[in-house]
Amino acid sequence: MNTLSQAPGPLITIEGIVIDVIIHREPNATPADGVPAFLEHGAMIDTGASATCIDYRIAHALKLRQIDQRTIGTVGGPIQVAVFLGMLEIPQLGFKRLDRLFAPKIERINYSVLTGRSVLKEFVFTYDGPADVCHFARPQRPPDHDDFAS
C-alpha cells in the first residue's frame, strides 16, 4: 500500500504540472484605485523550489506588502529578490493561506507563479509521468519539518 492510498482525504488529480492559483492581497488591505483584490494565474508545480515564487509584476499590480528581501539560489546563480505577503489560494486543492511570495523577475512562459515545497509539504504528492497528471492528497498528520536545511 502506498502513502497516497493511505491518505484520509479525497485524491485530487490535476492534468499536467500547471495548476490555477489566486493571489489575494492581505486581509483588510486598504482598497486602492486600480488595484484588484486578487489575480488569477497558472502556477507550475516545482518540487525544486523551496518557496512560492510570483512574477514581480503580480506583486506590484496588487501592491503587496514587502516583508523581507532575500538572496535566493537559482540555476543562474544567486539573485536578490523582494519577498511579499499575500494570500495564496489553490481552489482545486482547497488550499488558502497567508504565504511568503518571493518575487523574482520570472521570464513568462505559460505560468507566472511557481508552487514550491512550502505548499507541497502539506500534501502527499505524486507525478504520473506516462499520464502527465499529478495526484494530491492530504496526509494523515501535519508536516513535521520546515524544509529549511536545503
Partner: protein
C-alpha cells in the same frame, strides 16, 4: 513600485538570531526596525499577528533557522 531596502531590520534580526534561537527555537519572528515583536511556530500566525497589531508598520517576518532559499527554475529577465 520601488522595492524597499530592509537591510537595517535584517541586520537587527541577524544580530539577535542566536538569542532568538536559544529562547524560541525554530520559529517565525516578527521585527519592526530593530525591535523583536514576537515568535510563532507557523508563518501565517506570525503574519496574522503582525497585520493585527502593526497594520501600518513595515515589518520583517523571517524564520530563525532558514538557510538560503532555492528556486532553481527561475529564469531572470535580462536587465
Amino acid at each position: 513600485m520601488a522595492e524597499l531596502d530592509m537591510s537595517e531590520t535584517i541586520s537587527a534580526f541577524q544580530a539577535q538570531r542566536p538569542r532568538l534561537l536559544q529562547e524560541h527555537g525554530a520559529a517565525w519572528v516578527v521585527f519592526i526596525s530593530a525591535e523583536f515583536k514576537g515568535a510563532f511556530r507557523e508563518f501565517d500566525a506570525a503574519a496574522t499577528f503582525a497585520l493585527d497589531n502593526f497594520p501600518d508598520a513595515q515589518f520583517l517576518i523571517r524564520h530563525t533557522e532558514e538557510h538560503v532559499p532555492h528556486v532553481p527554475l527561475v529564469v531572470v529577465e535580462a536587465a
